[in-house]
């Protein structure tokens, strides 16, 4: 239970921190896509006998970078490239799962998360990712803010804006890997988007949104974990419903006018 609690807090804090950028940049869908796209990595992890969270990291990072590369090369919008890569990778993962005779994993656990079964290695991976992403946010924050607000102006200012955009996709892929362990492939999007969207309704400035989203995310994850434990539910849906409930309350009492 202690491991699950640590895992829940890490998910609750890290997903909304990066998710705040995704929500305000209209990139929420990419989080969902990355969660589905890491399935081949997870399955490969089970096949070769390494922790699936470790195996998911390079897959997520590769897909995140491919999204931008495919968009640029094909001249397609990001969401089209995301749609193609997400469907392809998820299908590949399902085929690998179907063809493998050695994997003894419940597909429902992959889709909905099984935080109570998180291993010590899974926690170490999450902690490692947390350190990397916090360093990344510290390093790239000003450039990410610039590139998120005025992409053309940022690009003209320096090529660092492009580097920051790639770094953002990598950080998104990394927090998705943490999120999958708790909320599963299907519901990791809720941890990325819902607390950030709730904070967007409640506070004015972007940095305040990040901090509020992290606090709301942690509260939702921990509450959801306890609810799932005592009601014998999957943790992913419980966390999602708690986060969505808070969002509904914020929507009812919001102070921000529509942009």
């Amino acid at each position: 239970m202690v491991r699950a609690l640590i895992g829940a807090i890490l998910v609750g804090v890290m997903c909304p921190l990066v998710g705040s950028y995704a929500v305000t940049r209209n990139l929420a869908f990419i989080g969902d896509a990355l969660a589905h796209a890491v399935l081949p990595g997870i399955v490969l992890g089970y096949i070769v006998g390494i922790n699936p969270a470790i195996a998911a990291v390079p897959t997520g990072v590769a897909v995140a970078l491919l999204v931008r590369a495919v968009s640029r090369r094909a001249g397609l919008s990001s969401d089209t490239s995301i749609g193609i890569l997400f469907a392809t990778m998820f299908a590949l993962g399902l085929v690998m799962l179907a063809r493998s005779t050695t994997i003894k994993v419940n597909i429902e656990d992959l889709l909905l998360g099984q935080i109570l079964a998180i291993t010590p290695t899974g926690i170490y991976v999450s902690l490692g990712i947390t350190v990397m992403v916090i360093l990344g946010l510290f390093t790239f924050h000003h450039w990410l803010l610039f590139a998120s607000f005025d992409p053309l102006g940022a690009q003209v200012n320096s090529t660092r804006a492009n580097v920051a955009d790639y770094a953002f996709l990598v950080m998104l892929a990394l927090v998705v890997v943490i999120g999958i362990q708790a909320a599963g492939i299907v519901l990791v999007l809720a941890m990325l988007v819902t607390p950030a969207a709730t904070a967007y309704l409640l506070v004015r400035r972007f940095v305040s949104i990040m901090i509020t989203a992290a606090a709301l995310g942690a509260a939702a994850a921990v509450t959801g974990l306890y609810v799932s434990y005592y009601l014998n539910l999957s943790a992913g849906p419980a966390m999602t419903l708690v986060a969505s409930g808070v969002f509904a309350l914020a929507l009812a009492f919001k102070r921000r006018a529509p942009a």
């Binding site: 305000t24 450039w143 803010l145 053309l152 942009a259």
Partner: protein, 251 residues
């Protein structure tokens, strides 16, 4: 504080520049020079290539042929600042006036340094120059069109840019706010900076701008505003409607 005016002196030269977008020639053989300390209006109809020209100068679009050359006074002189059309900006991101002007300091910060006292002083001075220090904590979405443009000019100042490109800066800006913006731009011009402003608005160019570039995929004319708007140039830009505009104006 902001560097001495002399450090912002720059001149720019475009020689035979052509730009292709999606297999179509968006700009053809564009040649003109801009001296240091020039406030230039770039006019032309929709699709004339005004934004394409700015994107080519800014390096956002590849140039198929020709050269864009920026001559700076010295190492300390700043680079190029780009103020895009309002549609290109993500207004959903809740940033304050101070945040946006601080973005101009990004290229001076490097990856790991946070904005320090000097950066904050520079931002304060820039906001003072564009008359928006009292609005520093306001969200960008809370400002009028003219104030938003002045914030972007403040950001260019914080960047210590020698060349400013403002795309459709008068769009959605009332005449009084246009006047306030032009006044700020004229002070930048007086420091030796080059300011290029693309606009649809052909009225009130005389007295506001030193030079006007008339564009319709090629350069129709380039010179002082009181000299360029001949019937021939207007026809090249706007067809028969353009000639009527000129003759109506003469009457």
């Amino acid at each position: 504080m902001i560097a001495a005016p002399i450090s912002h002196r720059a001149s720019m030269s475009l020689q035979d520049v052509s730009v292709e977008i999606g297999g179509h020639l968006a700009l053809s053989n564009v040649t003109f020079d801009v001296e240091a300390g020039t406030l230039m209006g770039v006019v032309g109809p929709n699709g004339a290539g005004k934004s394409t020209l700015f994107n080519a100068i800014a390096g956002l679009l590849p140039v198929r042929q020709g050269t864009v050359t920026l001559h700076r006074a010295g190492q300390e002189s700043g680079g190029l600042a780009y103020v895009p059309q309002r549609e290109s900006v993500n207004w959903r991101l809740p940033v304050t006036v101070m945040d946006v002007v601080m973005m101009g300091r990004c290229c001076r910060l490097g990856w790991f340094r946070r904005p320090g006292r000097r950066d904050r002083e520079i931002v304060k001075a820039c906001l003072g120059r564009v008359g928006l220090w009292d609005h520093r904590s306001a969200l960008m979405t809370e400002l009028s069109g003219g104030q938003k443009q002045r914030v972007f000019v403040g950001r260019a100042l914080a960047q210590e840019a020698s060349v400013l490109l403002l795309d459709e800066a008068f769009s959605g800006v009332d005449v009084a706010a246009q006047e306030a913006l032009v006044e700020v731009l004229q002070t930048l011009r007086d420091e030796g900076r080059i300011v290029l402003l693309a606009t649809h608005d052909l009225t009130n160019l005389t007295g506001r701008f030193d030079q006007v570039l008339c564009l319709n995929r090629h350069v129709c004319a380039c010179g002082p505003p009181e000299q360029v708007f001949t019937p021939e140039v207007m026809e090249q830009m706007y067809g028969a409607h353009g000639v009527r505009l000129t003759t109506d104006g003469e009457r």
